[in-house]
């Protein structure tokens, strides 16, 4: 495959685990761990998919996603959102902000892999 995934998550051991399973599946993985400059990092890297945590230092995943959706270059970028909040209102917020998929922690490795494959395959 060789496609690029950008993981924006502030928990280092989750970053490490996701990076490992995606790399083993043939993805090229880049990571970032804060919300302040996440939009710029995405626009510079222009990955095939972003895995975006909701609770990030500096700026929430919802805010980042809204900014990405308002820019022409990243309007259609597949974004998989991760959150520890599984409530209906969070899912609705993610949908309104423009998330391609919403996944609630804790998730299995297989679920992440399946979601990434499906989203990039379109």
């Amino acid at each position: 495959m060789g496609k690029n995934v950008l993981v924006i998550e502030d928990e280092p051991n989750i970053i490490e685990a996701i990076s490992f399973i995606l790399s083993r599946d043939g993805w090229s993985v880049a990571t970032h761990s804060n919300g302040h400059d996440a939009v710029g990092v995405v626009q510079d890297a222009m990955p095939d998919l972003v895995i975006l945590d909701v609770m990030l230092p500096g700026k929430t995943g919802f805010e980042i996603l809204r900014e990405l959706r308002s820019a022409a270059a990243t309007q259609g970028l597949p974004v998989l959102m991760l959150t520890a909040k599984g409530q209906v209102k969070d899912r609705e917020m993610a949908e309104r902000a423009g998330a391609s998929r919403f996944m609630t922690k804790p998730f299995s490795n297989a679920e992440v892999l399946d979601a990434v494959r499906e989203l990039v395959a379109g």
């Binding site: 685990a17 996701i18 520890a84 297989a110």
Partner: protein, 430 residues
């Protein structure tokens, strides 16, 4: 036993038990024998100072003579009945049940109150779980740890060939994350334990303030000359007030009641109240004080000044009840919204206009009351700023048999009136 024993009948029973003649008891309490005769035959209602004097002369608690204890029990049974959906108690026989089985009736009332308290605690805890930022953060952190552990464990279990350095790294991660998870779980349990202890005694600040006011009979005449510091110390020392919010609210109310006492002493009111006849508007006019001050002050001193204690209720412009001095026969709801037909709410639409209305409270008892209400602005008048209003209503019990006036209820849930344009929800008594 079907009829509720009346206060007059009880006085007669207790007098006979004490071996006193009617004239003897009348002399002891300073009234005529014929007036006591009317009371004993339930043709005059009794309360306040006279009830206290008679109970003292008969050496019994006033509550044993008043309708209060039994009426409160029947009222509690009705409330309990109104809040059940699965069974249909015989509402019309509530007083008979309370009379024949007072112990069982008290048990139902006590358990109903306990259920309410538990519901209140559950609602408070639910609110805390939903909005407590510390709890939300703790749960989020724990879920993050669980996610890391699950994902790392999955890699170790499911990856057939894994380099030793990666394997060691993931083992180390598992160890770190499991330790953090354990610490987080311990902290969360300790936090929830503390929350449970706090919730066990939880009451709303307004409830604490009302309990304090009831203890002092809404009177703070002794603080008329107190300094601000002494006033603050007095409020701080009230056992019923357990939170800063309750103490702040109490301070506001006590300051106001003290200011009322400064403007209208008991002597000034005594001069205006002859034979138990009250004219709040004339008192306000003669002494040049706001009518709301007169209403609050009359409610506060009515136990001593008038033949019957009077009630008082105050609401803000949103109709939220913020001050309640209960009076027998006029139920003032604690949590649910009150009857929109009260003069209290009518006054909100006619600010600064004094209202006087006779009302009869719905229900079999059908007590009559004279209500005075006024809505007055709060705070200083400012240019181009619409004032906020507080509305006050004085509730004066009337003797039976006169003009019925308007029919009002307590709250829709327990109001038996079927057709009412003010109804906002179905009655459970229908």
């Amino acid at each position: 036993m079907a009829q509720q024993t009346l206060a007059g009948t009880r006085i007669r029973e207790r007098r006979l038990m004490a071996g006193l003649r009617q004239a003897e008891l009348a002399k002891l309490v300073g009234i005529s024998g014929s007036y006591l005769n009317l009371i004993e035959h339930n043709r005059r209602r009794i309360g306040g100072k006279l009830l206290n004097d008679i109970s003292q002369a008969l050496n019994v608690e006033p509550s044993l003579l008043s309708e209060g204890a039994e009426a409160a029990l029947v009222s509690a049974l009705r409330e309990a009945a109104a809040e059940t959906e699965k069974v249909t108690p015989e509402l019309e026989r509530g007083d008979e049940f309370a009379g024949r089985f007072p112990g069982w009736a008290a048990l139902i009332a006590e358990q109903h109150q306990r259920l309410r308290n538990l519901e209140h605690t559950a609602a408070t805890l639910t609110d805390r779980l939903t909005h407590d930022p510390h709890l939300a953060t703790s749960v989020h952190e724990m879920l993050t740890m669980v996610t890391a552990i699950r994902s790392t464990a999955g890699i170790l279990a499911e990856t057939k060939e894994i380099e030793p350095e990666w394997r060691n790294r993931f083992h180390r991660n598992l160890n770190e994350d499991s330790q953090r998870l354990a610490e987080g779980a311990e902290q969360l349990v300790a936090y929830l334990d503390d929350a449970g202890d706090a919730a066990a005694g939880m009451t709303l600040p307004l409830e604490e303030v009302e309990a304090m006011l009831e203890t002092h009979g809404f009177r703070f005449d002794g603080l008329v000359n107190a300094t601000q510091e002494e006033l603050a110390t007095f409020v701080d020392n009230q056992a019923q007030l357990t939170t800063d919010a309750a103490r702040d609210m109490a301070m506001t109310v006590v300051r106001q009641l003290r200011a009322d006492a400064r403007l209208l002493s008991l002597d000034m009111l005594v001069r205006h109240v002859g034979d138990g006849v009250v004219d709040p508007a004339k008192i306000a006019s003669d002494y040049g004080v706001p009518l709301s001050t007169v209403l609050r002050r009359l409610a506060a001193v009515s136990d001593e000044l008038l033949p019957m204690p009077c009630g008082l209720v105050m609401c803000d412009a949103a109709g939220t009840l913020m001050l309640r001095k209960p009076v027998e026969g006029f139920a003032i709801p604690r949590f649910s919204a009150a009857c929109p037909k009260w003069p209290l709410f009518q006054a909100l639409s006619r600010p600064m206009q004094a209202l006087r209305q006779t009302v009869t409270v719905t229900g079999r008892e059908a007590h009559r009351f004279e209500c005075y209400a006024i809505s007055e602005p709060v705070g200083a008048i400012q240019v181009n700023v619409a004032p906020l209003y507080h509305s006050y209503m004085l509730i004066i019990p009337l003797e039976d048999g006169g003009e019925a006036g308007s029919e009002v209820g307590s709250t829709c849930r327990v109001c038996p009136r079927e057709v009412c344009e003010g109804r906002r929800e179905p009655s459970l008594l229908a």
